[in-house]
Amino acid sequence: MSTQPPTNTPRTLSQKVWDNHVVPSSTSDAADNGSALLYIDLHLVHEVTSPQAFEGLRMTGRTVRRPDLTVATEDHNVPTENQHLPIPDEIGRKQVDTLRSNTAEFGITNYPMGHKNQGIVHVIGPELGLTLPGMTVVCGDSHTSTHGAFGAIAFGIGTSEVEHVLATQTLPQLAQETMAITINGELPEGATAKDVVLAVLARTGTSGGIGAIAEYRGSVIESLSMEGRMTVCNMSIEWGAKAGLIAPDETTFEYLKGRQHAPQGEAWDEAVAAWRELKTDEGATFDREIIMDGSECVPHITWGTNPGQVAPIDSTVPNPADYDDAGEADACTRALEYMDLTPGMAMRDIVVDTVFIGSCTNSRIEDLRAAAAVAKGHKVKDGMRTLVVPGSGLVQEQAIAEGLDQIFIEAGFDWREPGCSMCLAMNADRLAPGERSASTSNRNFEGRQGRGGRTHLVSPEVAAATAILGHVATPGDLA
């Protein structure tokens, strides 16, 4: 009845985490296609994808099975200025009010605007120690893969599944293939975690990971901090993977120790002992593998309208004629038209009017430190609009304690309050038609940052250098 293989069969990390969460059925034989009912350890909830799920519970007379494994926050549509005042946008305010009343009704902890624990769902889970190795984590948000940085299986779900998890704390899941992204060697000078995942996208396009849970591994991945690993795992969905994860190690344990909800004392020792087993066994095989070298991960930038349309900053805008596939050539033509770019122009010649540093990809303390280090002692280009949006109240507090806010303000950046902000333009932070941004977020889709807006995805370091020079630049260009 159990879908678990004999324990002596070598397994990958994701197979181990998956097997540990299969709810055995006492009434029916396990499906022969490997699908399973998975238990969910942590369910993150926000205002945009949950109202219809709570409404569904009310309509069917169901309740929340495990409010103690569920946590909510307000992030997607909140303003990043004057959060102590009522939200000016009436529809957005109603959605936030609905989250507050739903979480109160069903007994779920919610961190509202102004609370130090409030922030982007994928920033607060890890920093509160709620995201731990070996867990299953879900949220009605496609960037839930972020939590895979801790060796968790974490994936985005739709609102029907949000309702399913609220009611049952489980999800029926189809079997997934296993995939390895192995990046050997070391990172080149000036390269960041963002460049690692952009380089993966350059290899895979937007669909290379469909149907798979991917494990990032190799010396480059091991060398990354937890913040960097979160940046990499965050964009797994952009290349189509169901989830992306990284085996926990000393870096992981060091990050977690002492965090608010992390185990303490003897429970900590017990947990670490269990977490040390969470790695791909010698002899285990992956259904698919991509092997890369760290030298591929030079600073990258997107030039098109999906994250797979990406290239090194040292290169030029591609030509539709370079593509063999007619559909891809057409997509390139369409993207260049939308982005108003000419084939062959140098990436560094792209002039931007807006810089956004933030989002669940790059709004953690380390991202802000990196951007501040570049900005320090410089001034942003005249006329440049710049937003620095910390990922959470705790990141904001830490940044202020370190004086990062003052560095940004002195350099002419606009220092804001926490939220998703210009990543998806559900609040007032948005591009006007024709405006162009360098953005540390995760999606450069048409209209993503505002109708008619044009987005180039970059690292925090490149975003800061670009804000200062007014055109696409790396920190090295500031010398």
Partner: protein
């Protein structure tokens, strides 16, 4: 959800790759707390253009959305599925679907038919040439049929999903029948797992 056995009708040919869920329904439409009214947001940034394919009279009332590869990539917003269904589509055909979109479709009864790129290209050209072309998607037999083109091919659907489509079943109810199994699993969870309560 309502049972779906056969989708039969004309198609709208949406000939472009990489249509992400931000294009299907832009984020401005996501602030609603209701589950209805999203048809107005479907492709709203493109529908202002009178030449946009969905605005053409000959495609009014089509039940099938014929898309290029990588349809529904990106954001997990189920609003994309709601918008497509509330507009009147009952099925989407594409060589490749975004995984979360495809999964969300199975919770609402929107039939996603994944076909070979070559067949997709052929169908796209055929529907563009003849907007009246009749397409039949049989969920019971898992066949895609286009009689006028002599096309009759199988498509894949998970057996449990197919069962729910044919019977119109709510999968939360099905899972709740396993309440005792879930309780048994819960009693075996490690003691160090955190609770969210402050």
């Amino acid at each position: 959800m309502e049972a779906v056995r056969i989708v039969q009708g004309r198609a709208v040919p949406l000939e472009r790759n990489d249509v992400d869920t931000d294009q299907i329904i832009p984020s401005d439409w996501l602030k609603q707390v209701e589950r209805t009214g999203f048809e107005k947001g479907l492709f709203s940034e493109w529908r202002d253009d009178p030449d946009f394919v969905m605005n053409k009279e000959e495609h009014a009332g089509a039940k099938v959305l014929l898309a290029g590869p990588n349809f529904g990539t990106g954001s997990s917003r189920e609003h994309a599925v709601w918008a497509i269904m509330q507009y009147g589509f009952e099925a989407v055909i594409s060589p490749r679907f975004g995984p979360i979109f495809a999964n969300n479709s199975t919770k609402n009864g929107l039939v996603c038919v994944q076909i070979e790129q070559e067949l997709g290209d052929k169908l796209m050209a055929a529907v563009q040439a003849d907007p009246q072309l009749e397409i039949v998607i049989d969920v019971e037999k898992l066949r895609l049929e286009v009689p006028a083109l002599d096309i009759d091919v199988a498509f894949a659907m998970d057996a449990q999903v197919q069962h729910r489509f044919l019977e119109g079943l709510d999968d939360i109810g099905l899972t709740m029948q396993q309440g005792d199994d879930i309780s048994a699993f819960e009693s075996s969870r490690p003691g160090y797992m955190p609770a969210t309560s402050a």
